[in-house]
């Protein structure tokens, strides 16, 4: 009986907020993006690597042409990832999530059906900027997600994911928002994740951002020279 009451109380607390996931964050009307990116990837005990390249995405399809530290082409098309190294003619493939890749935060919405809002409260971020702090529960994995959303502009500034026993597994920061074609777009995105090897930090900076421009669909088809065989990632 005690357990039943506890479950009812929990359900009540989960549904007590009037917001829905869709209304927490809006302004993601991005169909396509074309930008230059600089990524810095640091992993525990390994040298930090800086990548530079061109990032193009249209709905669920994405292509990155890295020029530094050496040429690489990454394509996500219909949920399939292809990672090609032109110099060694090596191709790795993997099936990934079929989620929108046009806005850095938009992938979060691929999970929205299994997420419920547990609480909402006023908070501050940065230097005394007002925000809402939402506590969300992923009903499938039981992870707890803390999302900080700017109170006035409605964009996400931070997302922290915890396991059900309070171990922080991922910390995402969305910064340097630019207002481009009536859309708030974060030009700096930092993702820090706990992996089996330690902590991995990935910082992506977007430059020369063009939103909702026409992107040729054939760029998402990888043109391979003869003799290249795919390896599963």
């Amino acid at each position: 009986m005690k357990r039943v009451i506890y479950v009812i109380c929990l359900l009540f607390s989960i549904q007590s907020s009037a917001d829905t996931i869709d209304t927490i964050i809006n302004n993601f009307a991005v169909e396509s993006i074309d930008a230059t990116i600089v990524q810095v990837i640091a992993e525990t005990g390994k040298p930090t690597i800086r990548y530079e390249g061109r990032y193009r995405a249209y709905k669920q399809n994405m292509r990155i042409d890295y020029s530094k530290p050496f040429p690489q082409i990454v394509i996500v098309k219909e949920g399939n990832l292809q990672w090609y190294y032109p110099e060694s003619k090596e191709l790795w493939v993997m099936h990934t999530m079929n989620a929108p890749v046009t806005h850095p935060f938009a992938q979060f919405f691929a999970f929205k059906d299994r997420i419920v809002i547990k609480s909402k409260e006023n908070t501050y971020y940065g230097l005394f900027k007002r925000a809402y702090k939402y506590i969300l529960i992923d009903t499938t994995t039981r992870t707890r997600i803390e999302v900080i959303v700017d109170k006035h502009k409605g964009y996400p500034v931070k997302k922290i994911t915890f396991t059900d026993d309070n171990v922080e597994i991922m910390r995402e920061q969305y910064e340097d928002y630019a207002y481009i074609n009536n859309v708030w777009f974060p030009t700096t995105v930092e993702v820090v994740a706990r992996t089996r090897n330690g902590i991995t930090r990935n910082i992506t900076r977007y430059y020369d951002v063009h939103l909702n421009m026409k992107i040729q669909p054939d760029i998402f088809i990888l043109q391979l020279p003869k003799g290249v065989r795919a390896k599963q990632m």
């Binding site: 810095v40 640091a42 005990g45 390994k46 040298p47 930090t48 800086r50 003619k89 090596e90 191709l91 940065g126 230097l127 915890f162 026993d165 309070n166 171990v167 922080e168 597994i169 991922m170 910390r171 920061q173 910064e175 700096t188 930092e190 820090v192 994740a193 706990r194 089996r196 090897n197 902590i199 930090r201 910082i203 003869k226 003799g227 290249v228 065989r229 795919a230 390896k231």
Partner: protein, 441 residues
Amino acid sequence: MAKVVVLGLTVPINIADIENKSVVSEQQAKVLAIALTNKLHESGYTTSYVNRYQLENDICYLYVVESHIADIQLAADSALKEYIMQDLQKLLGAVYNRKTVHAFLVQLKEKYLLDLIQINVVNYNESDDVSLVIRVRARKIAWSFEVATLPIYGITPSIVVTVPMHKAVMTMQGQVGFNEERVTLEKGVFEYMSFPATIGFHAGVLVSREYTVWERYGTDFTVTIAKPYAGIGIFKNRGVFDISAFLYGVATYYKVSEHNTAELEDTYKDAGIELRIQSKDDRSIAKKNKTLQASLFAGFSQDEYLLTSRALGIAPLQITSRFYVIPSAYSFYTNSFKRIYTEYVFDSYLLGFASRYTSTQSRHIAKLELMNEVIYEFVFFEIFGASGVYKSEYNRWEKTSSWGAGADIYYNTIIINIGCAWNTDKQFSQYYIFTGVRAKL
């Protein structure tokens, strides 16, 4: 002229030069079969080969036998055997590639701090597939080094050796200090901590000899300390914080001797209980951790009751992904007037006066640090200000403040620190430079 067709090859090697060739004889087919086998071996597929060739009409077939990893046997003396085996399972079913397997094992060696990893590749049940027989030996010891320039003590290299054990850890630390052509500090600590469940056991012994100055009397002397301690406590976690509270029984022996004067010697002994509380957000992945450390010692010496408390709190606030505001506070109090129980006023909590050796019974310091990541994962720049009150050696409360700037340079597991500090009531030309190098192996 027969066209070359390679059958059974799934691994990604470039065979365009072989496929583009034409074959007119069995001998040429054999040469191509050898060439393809060599190409496989050069690419790391050292157990795969062309097992036959066939000339049929105008086609020359080269049949490749790919050798898969069919079985993995692991011998390990490590408690991590199960986890290592889980990782090794990823190799099962793949075509054996010496380079890939070697790279994978190197990763495992780094990941699990292995001391040794050996591999033998043998035929699996007399088939073309292989069995990997792997032996690993866990690294017994982890080392970390630090060389810092500290106020009072000068250059202080230290070494920490950690021996991980099953639900326990043994730590040994050695530190020396050199300043103005004098050895200022010799310290050794041996500790053992066992944490079988939420209740843990911690015991250790500290032995040190420290060059000390008592500014009030213009004397300098050496304090030799032997301090064994043993305690029991609990581990808890609340949110992202790991919390521990331990209660210790502590006894300390002090020998105080005037510097270079063996005749003037005095000894002190004390004993008591000490409560140590620590809370740190170790479950967070933030760059800078929030920390609270507090200790309270209550006991008695030959001629007085003793009460000593210390507390340190650090609460970093991440303003942006590369900018932090780090407020911190430190507090110290002892009821004893004896020099051996007091602390220097100006040390790493309150930088600035490098040449002041005044000590205090009670001091309370607040510090604010602004830190910016100038170059991602490479250079951090910080400015700081600290202010505090302390009870002087003449039993008067006094105020003091300092400020400074510094930089931390990160390279792999090495952190280099350099900076400069000033006291607010002194001239700009009177500065204190501090440096440090930390490394973990």
